[in-house]
């Protein structure tokens, strides 16, 4: 799946970062490297861009870029799972 498909509140691990040139390099430099854990914090009011949390800080990227980042959703505890799903559904 890609980062774009991840719903709000969910955490995933980066597999690869796609794209090319300056934009891809910027993503890598900002710490979106393979195996990094990343959480979707929020979607902007107009539906794009999205706010991520990684390496202890908050970053915003557009959906277009998120669609180029392949991730693997990480398993979460039962309780949080349902709660997060509910939040994700609302967003």
């Amino acid at each position: 799946m890609t980062l774009q498909d991840l719903s709000v509140g969910k955490t995933a691990k980066i597999i690869t970062v796609g794209g090319e040139g300056a934009l891809r390099r910027r993503l890598l430099d900002m710490g979106l490297t393979p195996r990094t854990e990343i959480t979707i914090r929020k979607i902007a009011p107009f539906g794009d861009p999205m706010e991520l949390s990684l390496r202890g800080y908050a970053l915003t990227i557009r959906r277009e870029e998120a669609a180029k980042i392949i991730v693997e959703e990480t398993a979460q505890g039962c309780g949080t799972h349902t709660r997060m799903r509910w939040r994700g559904g609302r967003a």
């Binding site: 300056a22 390099r25 910027r26 890598l28 990094t36 202890g56 908050a58 915003t60 557009r62 967003a91």
Partner: protein, 668 residues
């Protein structure tokens, strides 16, 4: 001793720079690019100069800021690199540090915001970090002025002792092999080019074209290099850029695992999440943003702003009267007196009357920027502006344009991409500024007494529509190519120090005065000469005989297809260049209007509602006043771009007015 201050955006770099230098600052541009360069002398250490380099995250070759920083270190050879690192966000900040250490320049890391780390119950083992990194690490708090004296003495020691970072190996396995073999191959050429061989080799492995060019490798050497990299990529199963970024971050994770105890989110981060729950809320974000902007406009243009403005103009008025009386007493000739009073003093007066507004707007802009709210506005508004080829970052400057184009254009300085900056500078004057309002008020009172508000609103909307259409046009023509990446940090909300805000405000005010003074003064003097002299260069009392009026008569036919081919209207548009509200005073002089009622009657005789609307559309869209042109010149960085912007705006004004008048004529 030359110190290069380098760090991530939002790491407190500017705050540290202000603490170190106080107001001993000098602002300029790096040669050839519109990247700001600030330098200053450290307080009580006259021999130590600090250069504040742009906030960057890496030394990649893609952005002007990163290239400028890199070239500065390689070419200007600073004695010490002062790398500021945000301790609350240490992993990502150290990513730049690792690259800086390879430049083989004496270096110190200032670990900023240590107070926040401690007060949140977290800790960083500074001594161990220093040992692991191989460079001195000093905990500081720039905003609380803690650890600064110690930092200065360590800077001196490191710089004078030329203490280099301990050579370290952050790479492992295949990457290590590749860098190692390449270093041997290019060592001689790198030394000849003045680039540390290891840095050069690392950048070559990363695929950095600038280093490639600088080294001037032979075809054979290039082939070998490519072969080495291909081997590395094959072994790792990933490409060169990802491999290097991954390697650096893995190394940092190792160090942080051994030195950083992070149990809790910092208090500032928790607070930020709470604030964001409101300020970037799905439904509340926009109303709250509009509320904040309305408050800013209300303070700037409402009671407080007009009080300060009145104070200024009273001061200028008193001074002018004083000089006027003195000139009278000294018995200078009438033309000289008129030149000094109506030309020079009126010019200075119009410059200074901008000051309170500019200072207030910059006070608020710097609050918005330094608290971290500006990044949230960009986050919320990005989707709207992307449609016209810009990013959310351009929203606030454009909005400020409704108040005054001058600070709006100056505010584009914070936009990270040069392309976005230039586009925003061109589009911002289409936002109808407050100086155009008196012109609208006068004309609508004369010709649309029933629909005054409606006509005014339609002009504001027209400006926005033209800006959007221009954005679409520019995006697919002059500014073709990829819009800049919108990958932006959302920093924790922090209250900026009063000192920072004041310094910023003062900086901008000074900048405006220095740049605008000359151009506005020249414009005012030129207009005075044209307005007061006739062709035999005698002072004339009848405005009809002035040089300006005859120029107006010559260009007037140009405006005939627009519906206002009268020489008085043309002349008023010329004087509108000094300040748009001058259109009114010129018209009233040229009509010989004794009072405002006479002026209204004169306008009713000259204009039809349709030609008046075409005229107002022209006033809205044509090139902004001299002060805004001065700001454009400054932020564009070159004369050609400025002239093109003016030509584009005036051309647009002509076409739009023409369409309004000609199409309107078919129906009315």
């Amino acid at each position: 001793m030359l110190i290069a201050l380098i760090g991530n955006q939002n790491s407190g770099k500017t705050t540290l720079f202000n603490q170190l230098t106080g107001s001993n600052q000098h602002v300029g541009n790096f040669p050839g690019v519109t990247v700001e360069q600030k330098d200053g002398i450290i307080k009580k250490h006259k021999d130590m100069t600090v250069v504040d380099l742009p906030g960057i995250y890496s030394l990649a070759p893609y952005t002007a800021e990163e290239v400028v920083t890199r070239n500065f270190i390689l070419n200007d050879k600073p004695d010490v690199i002062l790398n500021i690192v945000d301790a609350t966000n240490i992993e990502r900040n150290l990513y730049l540090s690792l690259q800086l250490m390879q430049l083989q320049v004496p270096m110190i890391i200032a670990l900023n915001m240590m107070d926040e780390v401690k007060s949140s119950g977290n800790s960083i083992d500074v001594a161990k970090l220093e040992k692991e990194l191989g460079v001195p690490v000093l905990p500081i708090s720039a905003s609380k002025n803690e650890g600064i004296a110690e930092l200065i003495s360590r800077l001196r020691k490191t710089g004078e002792g030329k203490i280099l970072p301990v050579k370290f190996d952050c790479c492992t396995g295949a990457v290590h092999m590749a860098i190692h073999s390449l270093t041997h191959i290019i060592e001689e050429k790198a030394k000849a080019a003045g680039i540390p061989p290891r840095f050069a080799a690392t950048k070559l492995v990363e695929g950095d074209s600038l280093i490639d060019d600088a080294l001037q490798l032979t075809e054979n050497e290039k082939d070998i290099a490519e072969h080495i990299v291909t081997e590395m990529e094959r072994e790792l199963g990933t490409d060169r850029e990802a491999a290097l970024a991954d390697m650096r971050y893995s190394y940092i994770e190792g160090i942080c695992g051994r030195t950083v105890q992070k149990k809790n989110q910092t208090k500032e981060q928790i607070r930020s999440e709470k604030i964001d729950a409101l300020l970037t809320h799905k439904y509340l974000a926009i109303p709250l943003f509009l509320g904040i902007m309305l408050l800013i406009f209300w303070i700037t243009f409402g009671p407080i702003g007009s009080f300060l403005g009145d104070l200024f103009s009273q001061g200028i008025g008193a001074l002018t009267n004083l000089v006027d009386a003195a000139l009278q007493a000294a018995g200078v000739s009438a033309w000289l007196q008129s030149f000094l009073i109506d030309g020079v003093f009126a010019g200075i007066g119009s410059v200074l009357s901008f000051m309170p507004m500019i200072l207030l707007l910059f006070f608020f802009l710097s609050l918005l920027e330094d608290t971290g709210y500006m990044a949230r506005v960009a986050f919320v508004m990005d989707k709207l502006l992307r449609k016209i080829g810009l990013s959310g970052r351009s929203f606030v400057p454009m909005l400020i344009g409704f108040g005054c184009s001058v600070p709006a254009i100056m505010a584009t300085r914070t936009l990270p991409s040069e392309r976005d900056r230039k586009m925003t500078i061109i589009l911002t004057p289409f936002m109808s500024c407050s100086a155009r309002l008196p012109v609208y008020a006068l004309f609508t009172a004369a010709l649309f007494p029933e629909h005054q508000a409606l006509v005014m609103i339609s002009l504001y909307v027209l400006g926005i529509v033209i800006a959007v259409l221009s954005g679409l046009l520019l995006k697919s023509t002059a500014f073709k190519g990829k819009p800049s990446p919108f990958v932006m940090e959302l920093p924790a909300y922090r209250l900026p120090s009063a000192k920072s805000v004041m310094l910023h405000m003062w900086d901008k005010g000074k900048d405006f005065l220095r740049r605008a003074f000359t151009i506005i003064l020249i414009a005012s003097v030129v207009i005075w000469v044209l307005q007061s002299l006739d062709w035999s260069f005698d002072l004339t009392d009848t405005p009809q005989n002035s040089i300006l009026a005859s120029i107006g008569s010559v260009i007037a036919p140009l405006f005939k297809p627009l519906g206002f081919g009268d020489w008085r209207a043309a002349t008023a548009l010329i004087t509108g260049l000094t300040a748009k509200e001058s259109v009114i005073s010129t018209l009233s002089v040229l009509f010989n209007a004794a009072d405002s009622q006479a002026l209204l009657t004169a306008l009713q005789a000259l204009f039809t509602p349709l030609s008046a609307f075409a005229f107002l559309a022209f006033v809205l869209l044509y090139t902004p006043c001299a002060a805004a042109i001065a700001a454009t010149r400054r932020e564009m960085g070159n004369l050609r771009g400025t002239l093109l912007a003016i030509a584009y705006q005036t051309g647009t004004a002509y076409v739009v007015s023409l369409l309004i008048f000609q199409i309107g004529r078919l129906f009315l």
